[in-house]
């Protein structure tokens, strides 16, 4: 076999952002096709690269230990380069032409919402592997990341108690930032706190002198930073240079964007986040996982939570398919409906909630110190993704195909 040349072709294909689907079948069984859409070029490449790596690691491990139902996995990765139109084009290509058995991926919530209607027209399961602003009630989608009831309902009360009742919000101006800010407003209101300022920043903006001054004028006790992307992250450096010196909280910093590794200390000093995964976790399971990852990808700057969730997604898919003894979405959802769709992940046991098809997570609140050292402030144990179920989303009974927010709730029937 000229597998060397085939590997070369695979690499070349991946580089060109075209289908890299060359696999070597070992068994007589046909390959299981896993379609993966992750940005490994463009503005979000630094976050997307660990997602590709996590998927590759999981596929390699699963294939080595006999595949899924005896079938080897073929990973077909396309690079949408952070462009939502390309997400749709490549999504159609994977679903309709390559006829993948499962689709995984998407970084921004904008890319997920671009993909979802296309997935909904097929009977292919779709795994979204990021933490996000929550609320998607869609039978085709299984969400592996953390959601606001796991991230904001823990972080915001803690920040209010520790630092005070006045918060200023800096958010990226698209659905993730807007809906996350809405969550913050709701939780702050319940706590009797005050949102003294909210600023939505267009993606790609990199200059923050005015924002820093607006913050100083509003005199908040702490900042909620849900700015997204490399350009907007420049805020931290510029705020530190201007000696802004306020406590910060976020649902995406540190464990997702590893700003504490990318900026010179103390730019991220006093940042707080709630996470189901961050590389500094040092339980035996986590240490073992990190060792395997770094053995395969020695140059990885940081194993972020998206990459970790992407790794888990393949094991969750394996667990669902093997329990259902079928690769059909309907059969897999029957397993989810039993409430018994669980895997032993490096963070601990995680399960898919039957009503919302979101994942339970062990959540920890972490803080960053002046030398960018990460400390666990509080361990919340396992938190269920309960919010969708409470407001009336029940995918075992009805497929809403909608995204709910605190101000957009299901109609009472």
């Amino acid at each position: 076999m000229n597998s060397g040349r085939k590997l070369g072709m695979v690499l070349l294909g991946a580089m060109l952002g075209t289908a890299a689907g060359v696999g070597v079948a070992r068994a007589a069984e046909p390959l299981l096709k896993v379609g993966l859409l992750e940005d490994v070029s463009g503005d979000l490449a630094f976050m997307g690269m660990p997602k590709l790596h996590g998927s590759q690691l999981a596929v390699e491990e699963i294939n080595k230990s006999g595949g899924i139902l005896g079938r080897q996995i073929e990973l077909i990765h396309l690079d949408p380069q952070g462009d939502n139109a390309r997400y749709q084009e490549f999504g159609r290509r994977l679903l309709n032409r390559d006829k993948v058995d499962v689709l995984i991926g998407g970084i921004t919530s904008a890319s997920r919402e671009a993909l979802r209607p296309i997935v909904d027209r097929t009977s292919t399961p779709y795994f979204y592997t990021n933490q996000y602003e929550g609320g998607v009630c869609d039978a085709s989608m299984i969400s592996m990341g953390a959601v606001p009831e796991q991230q904001f309902s823990t972080l915001i009360p803690w920040m209010v108690e520790k630092f005070g009742k006045k918060v200023y919000v800096i958010a990226a101006d698209y659905n993730f930032g807007q809906i996350s800010a809405e969550w913050n407003r709701k939780i702050m209101k319940d706590l009797g706190g005050e949102v003294v300022g909210e600023e939505f920043i267009p993606l790609g903006v990199s200059q923050f002198a005015q924002t820093i001054q607006n913050i100083q004028k509003a005199k908040p006790d702490w900042l909620l930073t849900i700015n997204v992307g490399a350009a907007q992250d420049s805020f931290f450096e510029q705020a530190a240079a201007a000696n802004l010196n306020l406590p910060m909280g976020s649902s995406i910093k540190v464990m997702l964007g590893f700003e504490h590794k990318r900026f010179k200390p103390p730019a991220l000093n006093n940042m707080h986040a709630t996470a189901n995964w961050f590389e500094e976790i040092d339980t035996p399971e986590a240490t073992d996982f990190k060792k395997r990852w770094h053995a395969k990808f020695p140059d990885e700057l940081y194993i972020n939570d998206m990459g970790y969730n992407a790794y888990n997604a393949l094991y969750m898919y394996k667990a669902l398919v093997e329990k259902a003894k079928s690769i059909k979405l309907d059969d897999m959802r029957k397993v989810i409906a039993t409430g018994d769709a669980c895997i032993d992940a490096p963070e601990g046991k995680v399960c898919i909630n039957p009503k919302s098809q979101h994942t339970s997570h062990r959540m920890r609140l972490i803080s960053v110190g002046p030398k960018h050292e990460v400390k666990v402030e509080k361990d919340y144990g396992t938190i269920q993704p309960y919010w969708l179920g409470e407001i009336g989303c029940d995918l075992t009974k009805k497929n809403d195909k909608d995204q709910y927010t605190p101000s957009h709730l299901p109609k009472k029937s």
Binding site: M15, V40, S41, G42, D43, A45, F46, G48, M49, D173, E199, F200, I201, P202, G204, V205, S206, Q207, A209, Q210, T211, Q213, N214, Q216, K217, K219, A230, A231, D233, S234, E237, Q238, A240, A241, A242, N243, L244, K261, R262, F263, K264, A267, D299, L301
Partner: protein
């Protein structure tokens, strides 16, 4: 009260510096030479990466920044010689060629250097006025922007090279007939332009996240400033930057960054509609 006045000046200076530094190089390459350089952002990125690389090797920041600008300038001369030179009579093809160059450069940087590079941190120093604290380095940027404008004025208005360069841009054939070595003039001008782009990247490198596509955050502002400035680098770019900085600063302060960006672009559309040749067409006519 004085704190408010100073803060308005500081914000204006900050936007002005950003516009001037990102546009100065393009003003020469696009404004004077007429080359639509889509790789402008990549020369900025080059300046930033070289600065960070040198600082990590132990070179003091200021020297690293000067060396980075020189590097970008030299690369510019090479690019002019190898690629841009062939497209002076085909401006639209030069757009494609430099765009291709930009794609190749960003993707190569991604593959070679990686998706993110650790920053070097802004030089220490902040000061407080009233309830506000400010970063000293942002005022250094403003000083550099003013110095760049002054330097361009001297080079293009007061030196022999400047006179010949302007003559070459106005009428290359005539300049050649009078003995100017136009090929070399084009080369050097292009190099100065990319060197200034490199300087912009070098100056902003400590304050930003370094990724291969970072140049893109400068490109819109730089083209917009040059386009509404018009062909005359000095009489166009500087007033264009002042004008856009005022609009953007005022809107940013009152309505936030989104309205600031929208407002600036609306102003640009209006100006291009009223003055297709840019601000300098009015100013030059008045001046004569």
């Amino acid at each position: 009260m004085s704190a408010e006045v100073f803060s308005v000046f500081y914000q204006f200076a900050d936007v002005f510096a950003f516009l001037i530094l990102s546009a100065a190089g393009l003003a020469i390459v696009f404004g004077m030479m007429g080359v639509i350089n889509m790789a402008h952002g990549e020369f900025i990125m080059c300046g930033a990466y070289v600065t960070v690389g040198l600082v990590n090797l132990g070179v003091p920041l200021a020297i690293a920044q000067i060396l980075a600008a020189l590097t970008a300038g030299l690369i510019g001369v090479a690019v002019e010689f190898l690629i841009v030179r062939r497209f002076y009579k085909r401006p639209l093809d030069s757009l494609l060629a430099t765009w291709g160059l930009s794609l190749i450069v960003t993707q190569s940087m991604l593959l070679i250097v990686g998706s993110a590079v650790r920053g070097i941190g802004t030089p220490e120093g902040s000061f407080a006025i009233g309830g506000y604290t400010f970063s000293t380095y942002r005022l250094v940027l403003f000083g550099c922007a003013v110095a760049v404008l002054g330097g361009l004025y001297i080079v293009f208005m007061k030196t022999r090279f400047g006179v010949i360069a302007r003559a070459t841009m106005q009428n290359a054939a005539m300049a050649k007939a009078l003995g100017a070595r136009t090929g070399r003039i084009y080369s050097i001008s292009f190099g100065i332009g990319t060197g200034l782009a490199g300087l912009c990247g070098a100056l902003y490198a400590p304050t930003m996240t370094l990724i291969p596509t970072m140049g893109a955050t400068f490109v819109v502002e730089s083209f917009v400033t040059v386009v509404i400035g018009g062909a005359n680098v000095l009489l166009g770019t500087a007033p264009a930057a002042v004008f856009l900085a005022m609009i953007r600063m005022a809107l940013n302060a009152s309505y936030g960054q989104i309205i600031g960006q929208i407002g600036m672009l609306v102003a640009v559309i209006l100006i291009i509609r009223v003055l297709p040749e840019g601000l300098s067409s009015v100013l030059v006519r008045r001046g004569r």
